[in-house]
Amino acid sequence: MNLSRHETADACVISVNETRIDAAVAIQFKDRMRDKTEDAGARIVLDLGQVEFIDSSGLGAIVAAMKQLGPDRRLDLVALNPNVDKVFRLTRMDSVFRIFDTLEDAGAL
């Protein structure tokens, strides 16, 4: 589960360098997110541009990643491909996150 991180003026951007977040890697994703965001500031932006597929376990792991940030930090999502977007909509989890089309839209360039 390859995640990379870079800082912008007002966000910490985590890029998922994988094509799938699924049952086979959900726990690993959640743990790696904890490592990567431990010392991050109040706004974390998760760039899903390379992710072609998530299942409900992957979705659960993204929710868990947000929960482990605590109440004082937020997780926004960027660049959901159509299949990934569909899973968020089907489960109504699209209303739990702020979702942007691009890093620019998210103000995280």
Partner: protein, 161 residues
């Protein structure tokens, strides 16, 4: 078992042959999340190659991911070995799936039909799972479950629009 001619059906219906010829394939999937992943990639390749559009292929992948991962996580959760048998058949109304495993029965003997977990709650109570059958119930049609001879048998259709 379809004839060889049927297997080599052209991928898109032509205007003078409105009923699509049947296309069929079968897979045996070992009882492991990584094997489910590989099977999904294979199935997307095949349904795409047979001419289904990206929206259909997407709905197939999402639905099968939930069904197959549930078998691994629940029906076969106490087994180290075990295989899932899947057959996919493309018919006029969409893709028909037939999925069998030798695991424990569905609790209650029927397909679970849970409500979506609520999301109108404080952050710390947000659901991290329990979405699987809600997704399947939304995307699949003609969902049938039977317990027979020590195994589970699930059939459903992913419609093509």
């Amino acid at each position: 078992m379809p004839s060889n001619a049927a297997r080599r059906a052209p991928s898109r219906p032509s205007s003078d042959r409105p009923y699509m010829a049947e296309t069929q394939f079968s897979l045996r999937i070992p009882n492991r999340p990584k094997a489910v992943r590989r099977a999904l990639v294979e199935i997307c390749g095949r349904t795409d190659a047979s001419g289904s559009g990206p929206d259909t292929v997407g709905r197939i992948e999402i639905t099968l991911a939930e069904v197959l991962n549930n078998v691994v996580e629940h029906a076969l959760r106490h087994e180290e070995e075990g295989e899932i048998h899947l057959t996919a058949t493309r018919k006029n109304d969409g893709w028909h799936f037939d999925i069998r495993d030798g695991g424990v029965a569905m609790p209650g003997g029927i397909v679970p039909h849970p409500d979506l977990p609520g999301n109108n709650c404080p952050l710390e109570n947000l659901p991290e799972g329990g979405f699987g059958w809600a997704i399947v119930n939304t995307l699949a049609r003609d969902l049938h479950y039977r317990r027979r001879a020590g195994g589970n048998h699930l059939t459903f259709v992913i419609p093509e629009h």
